[in-house]
């Protein structure tokens, strides 16, 4: 599913900062993986490369057999839309759209008709226990609810991979557990590959495979 070979990434604003120093990593279809490491170790950078939100300097990245390199922004958008679902620490919901509108949005960019995508979005919200919150705006919801809306939005396009960057980082411990349980269940039932970045060992403990990253290298898998 995901094959990384010798990935290097340097940030070049002002002082060059070599963040990823040769990452080799394979993740198979259906795995439930966590990436751990200290703050600033390059976890988010790695995840952004996996999500084709950012590019890398050298090495190769194959996603589902396709080499992800020098894509046009249009191609990258299509891959993100169809293959990848994102979950962020800060939810990244659009504040002036209701929960259901937020969930619909990925389908809008696939050209799905309004009625159809509304129906699907309602189904996913219902599945995540948010039926009654469909018409609410993000600022009317709790952190756990917002993250569940984000999960619904990530799921609605049937992605093969879900990439989550500290999905529980802004939640209390009880809600964290619920969200992790939800992700685990989705991994089990829908066979979606999950890659979760966290620095919380409690969260990592719930995953099947833990990858430790330190100083731009994988130190423990």
């Amino acid at each position: 599913m995901i094959e990384l070979k010798d990935i290097n990434k340097t940030y070049n604003n002002g002082q060059p900062l070599h963040v990823l120093k040769g990452i080799d990593l394979n993740i198979e279809q259906g795995e439930f993986v966590s990436i751990m490491g200290a703050s600033g170790s390059g976890k988010s950078t790695l995840l952004n490369i996996l999500g084709i939100l950012d590019n890398y300097d050298s090495g190769t990245y194959h996603l589902n057999g396709t080499l992800i390199k020098n894509l046009t922004e249009k191609q990258a958008a299509a891959y993100r839309n169809r293959m990848i679902g994102f979950i962020f620490q800060s939810f990244n919901l659009i504040s002036f759209k209701t929960a259901v509108e937020n969930v619909e949005l990925p389908l809008f960019y696939q050209g799905v008709p309004r009625r159809k995508r509304h129906e699907l979005a309602m189904q996913y919200l219902e599945k995540l226990g948010l039926r009654d919150w469909a018409q609410h705006y993000p600022n009317e919801m709790s952190g756990g609810q917002k993250q569940r809306v984000a999960i619904a939005r990530a799921l609605i396009t049937h992605p093969q991979i879900i990439l989550a960057d500290e999905p529980t980082g802004a939640l209390d411990s009880k809600t964290s557990k619920e969200v992790m349980a939800l992700l685990k269940e989705l991994n089990r039932t829908e066979k979606i590959t999950m890659v979760i970045v966290t620095h919380d060992s409690g969260v990592a403990a719930q995953t099947d495979r833990r990858i430790h990253i330190s100083d731009g290298l994988i130190v423990n898998d």
């Binding site: 999500g51 994102f86 960019y109």
Partner: protein
């Protein structure tokens, strides 16, 4: 499509005041454009109204003064046209170009009815001159062929002279057939024309032959007018005039290249120049209007830039979940077009209302300029064509205004956009 407009509405709704303030600049720009074009049209309409009282494919020729000595004669000699000139104009020299020729001859005289009298200029005319000079007949008829052959004593009078003779409130139609006295002879009124507001010399018409006999004019004529065809360009017209002058000058023992021995008033080239001038005026007004509009466009472009900057994070989210650059720029450019078109239409409608008001007020004012009665504006409005052109202009303007903000938004990499805040 509906989704697009929902998105735009969401965006505009969040920035109502800002959008309105900039939108008004666009309204103002289009308002100015429409009013300028309307006033320009009014000017042009008034212009062509005054110039357009003759057939445009005609030339009028009259005698002048020689400007150089020739054939033993001194310069400064007065040239008077005569019957010979008519024949030559009609003759083989200008065959295939000159169509109808009609000369006039006239004298100042007084028209008398009982104790009332009015001074004017009696001009002997041929029937064809009515068409050539677009003489505005309102009642009765003009001179006809029988008047010419029988040397009938009939007149066609302007309405202002009729009113002086028959009283202000006279029913014009009832005057036809009545008699007046000119040069102590009875003349029958056969027609009435609208008085020319630009001239106050009380010109009126009688048969050519009658005037020639009564006033003992001999061979002399005042001027001659002829219609022509086949001279399409200014160069062709110039060459013809030069040739014409050379031939007529010779008949009067004036130098062939003497420019002022006779004068030619070519309505065709005059009309051509007028069309050219009005074309230039129209272009100038468009340019002026477009520059005014440009201020509005820059304004819209600016708020779009601010909006794009504020929405960077949101666009980052959209990109992360699959929005292509085209989706983002479509959103911005359409928003820009919608704002421009909406406020532009307000400006356009107000501009048209202003034109109507102008038409209702200044459009009917007759001003006196250098002793001539002139209407400065006539029908100062714009047509549907201008409205359509302005609409097109607005859409183009909106696209341009949205272009740079859109490019800015699509250029930001998704990860940078997501991290922005």
């Amino acid at each position: 499509m509906k989704d697009l407009f929902v998105e735009i509405w969401e965006s505009v709704r969040r920035n109502k005041l800002r959008t309105c303030l900039t939108g008004l600049a666009v309204s103002w720009g289009i308002f100015m454009l429409i009013v300028l074009l309307g006033a320009g049209n009014g000017l042009l309409n008034a212009f062509s109204e005054q110039g357009g009282t003759f057939a445009t494919n005609s030339m009028m020729v009259g005698g002048g003064w020689t400007s150089k000595p020739y054939d033993g004669l001194a310069q400064g000699r007065r040239i008077v046209l005569d019957d010979k000139d008519i024949e030559v104009t009609r003759g083989k020299n200008f065959k295939g170009i000159v169509d109808k020729v009609a000369s006039t001859v006239g004298a100042s005289d007084t028209v008398v009815l009982g104790t009332k009298h009015v001074r004017g200029y009696i001009e002997g005319n041929f029937p064809a001159r009515m068409e050539m000079e677009k003489i505005p007949l309102t009642h009765g008829r003009f001179i006809n062929d029988k008047d010419i052959t029988d040397q009938r004593k009939v007149v066609v009078l302007p309405d202002n002279m009729i009113r002086i003779l028959f009283g202000e409130k006279v029913d014009l139609a009832s005057v036809i057939g009545k008699r007046v006295k000119i040069n102590n002879l009875q003349f029958q009124i056969v027609g009435i024309v609208r008085a020319n507001e630009m001239q106050d010399n009380n010109l009126f018409y009688a048969p050519y032959t009658t005037v020639k006999t009564i006033y003992a004019k001999g061979k002399e004529i005042d001027d001659l007018t002829f219609t022509f065809h086949g001279l399409e360009t200014e160069e062709e017209n110039e060459a013809f005039e030069k040739n014409f002058k050379a031939i007529i000058n010779k008949l009067h023992r004036a130098a062939p290249d003497d420019e002022s021995a006779i004068w030619i008033w070519n309505r065709f080239t005059q009309n051509m120049q007028m069309n050219k001038a009005s074309g230039i005026l129209t272009i100038a007004l468009w340019v002026l209007g477009i520059f005014t509009l440009l201020g509005g466009i820059v304004g819209v472009s600016n708020i779009m830039l601010i909006t794009v900057k504020e929405r960077t994070h949101e666009f980052g989210i959209r990109k992360a979940i699959g929005a292509a650059p085209g989706d983002i720029s479509k959103l911005i450019i359409t928003e820009s077009i919608v704002i421009t078109a909406f406020f532009g239409y307000i400006g356009m409608v107000l501009g048209m209302v202003a034109c109507e008001i102008l038409d209702a007020t200044a459009g009917h004012n007759v001003t006196e300029v250098m002793g001539m009665q002139m209407q400065l504006l006539k029908n100062p409005t714009v047509g549907v064509d201008v409205a359509l052109e302005a609409t097109l202009l607005l859409i183009i303007a909106g696209t341009i205004a949205g272009f740079f903000p859109a490019r800015k938004a699509t250029k930001v990499r998704p990860i940078e956009a997501l991290n922005a805040n």
